[in-house]
């Protein structure tokens, strides 16, 4: 059982903070729940995509005439079916939509920019016929030299992906095109002064490989276009409203003519924020006048959808001999994939932000290479930078002879600390967390031969943004809640708990549903650890508005004013004894009378949530390394995190455990392997090795609850932080187990074994 720490001010609630069974659960354990590929419509066609086998090639012509003649083929689309769109201003992360890039990514225009880049799509009466049709499409490629490493891509003689891209952020303005889209900088204080004050300075280089989010459900959609110019899209997505906006832009449709319905989603982690086949399916449906289903194979998911960036990270940190960090510097070179937008803004804003530092400088390079365009992956851009930063901080601790947790305590951010972006923190629980780490049984447990313990901390700042919610009270006293966030991690359980708590009715009487784009106002995607926070705020406000209606009704029934009525335990009650001796009226009674008293009872809210804050975590891991094989066995793992307030502890723990295991896969085994032609060699789960149940131990969790004062229940976003510390923690543990420190991920057995043997040979000399 997890070991929770609650602040004194948190009171006991009836549903909030309890382990409630999720309202959508039964359908998920019986196979009834419908995911993206589970919709079947009459007359439905099957879509398949033709993809470039070349990493970099000019597309001279595409001949679809033979494919069109194949019986059963009903429509084909190429670049000619999509208008070119204007470039947007420089985006800052992998999630900002640049229309020109998106148009070119969903289907190639001038060039194929990666192995797997979509070139054409076919809709036919069966998958078999669609696949046959792809083989009949003739594409004339002029193969070009390619580049897949970001440092190689920066060289003067590197093949250039975009002849119209000139590096932003350098002076004087460049005249030669570059693969470097942008150089970003952030500074605080005086770095040189900071290094001058340091007693110890450590400088190291790190390298990480691209890793995929690895959601088990491939991208899938069914598009159904009508002759009246409207279309409906059913799809697995992290944001139906965002998908509507992007698809409409790419298709040249008014947003109001497109309705997007989100299916249940089989994992996302950021990877289902971009659109891929959806605009193709809609266009095919428009041309074929029939619904079109498009489902990616796993091979396509790997070749053509965004992994996170691979990186070269350079870290330089200086500290005094008693462990106070005086200067922190970083240079980050990130792969953006075929189009600009690696997660640098987040990396810069987060990599040192759990510490209270005076002198910081971070420079980031956003570099295009012939790989699929990167997409967000849980705390996008941060894990690679944190891997380096925490690695060097651990090394400083070792060299100074200071306990790694004590070193963090000496530098920990707290209320009032200001980070590199200028954000001043409200109350945060990092110091309390570090003290809990030291007091935890894991911290002092005995270790045996070839066993070692590692520690790392991590910072992420969760998002706010637009959310809408509508609550309708049914005439039997149950409540339908409409909110707009696809439920990846159990958020419906948290919404139901908050509504039940506010209304004072049983949890089972609340029915949360995820609305489509026609039924609710714009709601920002499920990402950025924002849902329980921001959508929670909208849901609570909608509920409180419904309660106001109830109190108004009760006041009218009693002939008193609304101020003289209070809402308590699911009933309207006189606010005090002097108001009168009126029996409480329940929600169900008010609902039953509602038709005769002004109409159905409802409440709604449309907000743009602000007041988000830091989400900090720290991980402890024990490993046993086999020096004969380089195999790392994970013995014990504990995740500590400041969660603000856990509305649904089961699901908060789930985020902590899931993110940690993803980070472990990132650290130990996962990577993209390309051949010398720039073609992906391991586009499947056999050779893209993600953790399985036998790879990991139980993942213990300690939730520190330092409530976020900006949310009615103190919620902090929790979903992303847990992927930030594991890589550095594991490398630290391996170093402590066999004395070998690696600076390159993944730390797969062959690499570790080589490092062990090299160290052994050196020691023998």
């Amino acid at each position: 059982m997890p070991d929770d720490v609650k602040s004194a001010e948190i009171k006991e609630f009836k549903y909030v903070g309890k382990r409630n069974v999720r309202p959508d659960g039964v359908d998920k354990v019986t196979g009834r729940a419908k995911y993206g590929a589970d919709l079947i419509l009459p007359g439905m066609l099957y879509g398949r995509v033709l993809r470039s086998p070349h990493a970099h090639a000019r597309i001279k012509s595409i001949d679809i005439s033979d494919a069109l003649k194949l019986a059963g083929v009903k429509a084909i689309v190429t670049r000619d079916d999509f208008k070119d769109l204007p470039k947007a201003q420089p985006p800052f992360g992998p999630m900002i939509h640049d229309a020109a890039d998106t148009t070119r990514n969903i289907i190639a225009r001038e060039k194929a920019l990666y192995d797997g880049h979509a070139v054409a799509a076919v809709a036919a009466t069966s998958e078999t016929i669609a696949k046959k049709a792809l083989k009949l499409i003739k594409v004339d490629y002029e193969v070009l030299p390619h580049v897949i490493d970001p440092v190689e891509a920066m060289k003067d003689d590197a093949p250039i992906l975009h002849e119209d891209q000139f590096t932003v952020g350098v002076e004087p303005k460049p005249t030669k095109p570059s693969n470097v889209f942008r150089v970003m900088k952030a500074e605080k204080g005086d770095l040189d002064k900071g290094f001058a004050e340091a007693d110890i300075v450590i400088e190291r280089d790190f390298k990480t490989a691209a890793v995929h989010q690895g959601y088990i459900e491939p991208h899938a959609c069914v598009a159904n276009a009508s002759e009246d110019g409207t279309a409906e899209l059913w799809c697995t997505t992290q944001g139906q409203f965002n998908f509507r906006a992007v698809c409409a832009a790419v298709l040249g449709m008014p947003v109001g003519k497109l309705k997007v319905v989100s299916s249940e989603i089989g994992g996302g982690f950021g990877g289902k924020l971009p659109v891929y086949g959806e605009p193709l399916a809609i266009r095919l449906s428009q041309k074929a006048h029939r619904p079109v289903k498009m489902v990616m194979t796993r091979d396509e998911v790997f070749r053509a959808t965004g992994p996170t960036s691979g990186s070269h990270v350079h870290i330089k940190i200086g500290a005094t001999k008693d462990g106070r960090i005086t200067a922190a510097e970083a240079v980050l070179k990130y792969q953006a994939g075929a189009f600009k937008g690696a997660g640098l803004a987040a990396a810069i804003g987060c990599m040192y932000s759990q510490y209270d530092l005076e002198n910081i400088r971070i420079v980031g390079y956003d570099i295009c290479v012939n790989r699929p365009k990167v997409a967000a992956y849980r705390a996008p851009g941060v894990p690679m930078a944190a891997f380096g930063a925490e690695g060097v901080i651990n090394e400083i601790a070792t060299k100074l002879g200071i306990d790694p947790v004590d070193l963090r305590l000496k530098n920990a951010a707290k209320q009032g600390s200001v980070n590199v972006s200028g954000i001043k923190y409200g109350p945060i629980g990092f110091i309390e967390m570090l003290e809990r780490v030291k007091a935890h049984p894991h911290y002092n447990a005995a270790l045996g031969k070839n066993q070692g313990r590692g520690f790392a901390a991590g910072y992420w700042m969760h998002a706010g943004g637009m959310s809408c919610a509508t609550l309708n009270v049914q005439d039997d006293g149950t409540v339908n809640l409409l909110e707009g966030n696809p439920d990846i991690g159990g958020s419906r359980a948290s919404m139901a708990a908050m509504v039940a708590e506010e209304l004072g009715i049983p949890y089972e009487k609340v029915r949360p549903m995820i609305a489509d784009t026609s039924s609710l106002g714009f709601t920002l995607f499920t990402a950025g650890s924002r849902v329980t926070y921001a959508t929670g705020m909208a849901v609570i406000e909608a509920t409180r508005n419904a309660i106001k209606v109830c109190c108004d009704r009760a006041a009218a029934i009693w002939g008193v004013t609304a101020e003289q009525v209070k809402w308590e335990e699911g009933h309207a009650k006189p606010a005090s004894a002097n108001v009168g001796d009126f029996a409480p009226i329940s929600l169900a009674e008010l609902a039953k009378k509602a038709p005769m008293m002004g109409g159905p009872i409802a409440g709604h809210a449309e907000i743009n949530a602000t007041g988000q804050g830091p989400a900090i975590g720290a991980h402890l891991v024990d490993v046993e390394t086999d020096p004969e094989t380089g195999f790392v066995k994970l013995l014990r793992y504990t995740v500590f995190q400041d969660v603000g307030r856990a509305i649904s502890p089961d699901y908060v723990e789930g985020q902590m455990q899931g993110g940690a295991v993803q980070g472990l896969g990132w650290a130990l085994n996962e990577e993209y392997i390309y051949n010398d032609k720039g073609q992906l060699q391991n586009a499947g789960f056999l050779d893209y090795r993600m953790p399985v149940a036998s790879d990991v131990p139980m993942i213990d969790t300690v939730m520190i609850e330092e409530p976020n004062p900006n949310h009615p229940y103190g919620v902090r976003g929790v979903g992303e932080t847990p992927i930030v510390p594991p890589q550095a923690a594991v490398i630290n543990a391996v170093e402590n187990s066999v004395g070998v420190r690696l600076s390159e991920l993944p730390m797969s057995p062959p690499k570790l074994l080589k490092a062990i043997e090299t160290a052994r040979a050196l020691a023998a000399e």
Binding site: P380, G422, I423, K424, T610, G717
Partner: protein, 75 residues
Amino acid sequence: MGEARRFTGDVAELDLEAGNVMQLFRKLGERFPELKPILEDGFAVAIDGEMYEDSLLQPIKPGAEVILIPKIAGG
């Protein structure tokens, strides 16, 4: 903040009068035309340390310190 500085000719700090974020962006856009098209879509602001994103009507008190921060979202 580093990112905006590119467009301001390396001016890192300046005093402006603005009652809310929208007015601030308008004045910055008038002063630094290259910054104008990307302000609303690209930047959040920290007002006296508190972060606000997509909040054009957020009031700014006299004497407040406002910092421009590139928008970051999550995954």
